[in-house]
Symmetry: none
Subunit: 206 residues, 2 copies
DNA sequence: TCAGTTTTTATTGTAACAAAAATCAGATTA
DNA sequence: TAATCTGATTTTTGTTACAATAAAAACTGA
């Protein structure tokens, strides 16, 4: 009733749960957050998890077009998350006493709801006319195409670069600075990468 | 040497760190997050903490100096979000005040009555970030100083250049293009020369 | 081959902990 | 008397530890 009771003994080399099978397909760690912001962050993470899940489903990307389309889809999926609070600089209706004048707002911004501004940091896009301190106008609904200047997030950091394609079809991000100080960024599978919007214009104050 | 050695013994009822003296002025708890999103969330929380801190300060203002400083800080508060970090995905806790949005018109144009636009032609000011097709914002009332980018008319033709001074004190106009294709323009007595305004900003559409 | 069982390993929310920070009371000093 | 010092006390906070759960492969018996 006991000595002969063993049925399935022995080693199981190679068994066990596989790496990267968790919610986020990556390592996690613990951080402390204020209670009031927990639901906000939870929402954000839920959207992120969904994105990761879909990206894995989609398998290997073979074109940037597809990829950005995917991003768009994902963006729509997670839209409820930040729908209410997109930090867009909504242009106020111009007080056009001088109607013959050009209006920068109208000229620069086609789609106010989906437009926001980002301050340029660094000189990596200097040859595209984007200097440090400039404000880039970003449309987050516009479909990104090869050659567009885009706002992308790589491993949690934002950058503005020109979108291009690698030989294998994966995206890459090109700086516009021939000094050699900035390298193209090749997007690889293990990097967290997302296109947040297309830069449709810019402005600056001297 | 021992019985009389007690100096500060005993209970300290009411002592100890006060509640709500932490970063967020509220309870916290720990959650697990994917490593790649840690910087994003950290930035979000930083903004949130700043907001909480300032809100607490608001309750104990006792001088005008402090108040104006606070206003400045609150003003800046909405910017860090756009500057490099979290344009969307996480709603900005600092941005809940509606009025802190940015308006390109207001940002670019201080003095509408005396402001007009000029389309850049040529590449002579490319290193100042002015590309062909850009719109330069010109204030015609502003006093031009050495180092300013100005709209000048020389012998009936308009040009945009940086204003500088020759050794003899006469003005000269410097291009911002190191290719050597553009030469400084030295203003001489027999030339017809006038400064029409100071370039205070620029904008473009891609 | 197949289904159920067992072993193995990764994930994940939470508890626990220790160091740091903040605050107060009594003692000491100026 | 007021300011400072010292130790006690409590909250905060980043990290570690852990146990429960989940996922995947190996084994067993048919």
């Amino acid at each position: 009733m006991d000595s002969e009771d063993k049925k399935n003994g022995g080693k199981r080399p190679g068994s066990g749960r596989k790496l990267g099978t968790g919610t986020y397909k990556e390592n996690t760690s613990v951080i402390r957050v204020p209670d009031s912001q927990k639901p906000v962050i939870a929402n954000f993470l839920e959207a992120y998890a969904k994105k990761q899940r879909l990206q894995q489903l989609e398998g290997q990307l073979d074109s940037v077009a597809e990829f950005t389309q995917l991003c768009e889809e994902l963006d729509n999926l997670s839209l409820p998350l930040y729908q209410s609070k997109v930090p867009a600089g909504l242009p106020s209706p111009a007080d056009s006493d001088e109607e013959s004048r050009m209006d920068p707002n109208g000229y620069l911004i086609d789609d106010p709801t989906n437009t926001f501004f980002v301050t340029i940091q660094g000189e990596s896009m200097i040859e595209a006319g984007l200097l440090p301190g400039d404000k880039a106008i970003v449309n987050k609904r516009k479909q990104a195409s090869i050659g567009d200047i885009v706002l992308a997030m790589i491993d949690g950091e934002f950058t503005i670069k020109t979108l291009a394609k690698q030989k294998n079809g994966d995206p890459k991000l090109l700086p516009a600075n021939s000094s050699g100080k900035y390298e193209p960024i090749l997007i690889q599978g293990r990097m967290q990468f997302a296109i947040w919007g297309v830069v449709t214009g810019s402005f600056r104050k001297f």
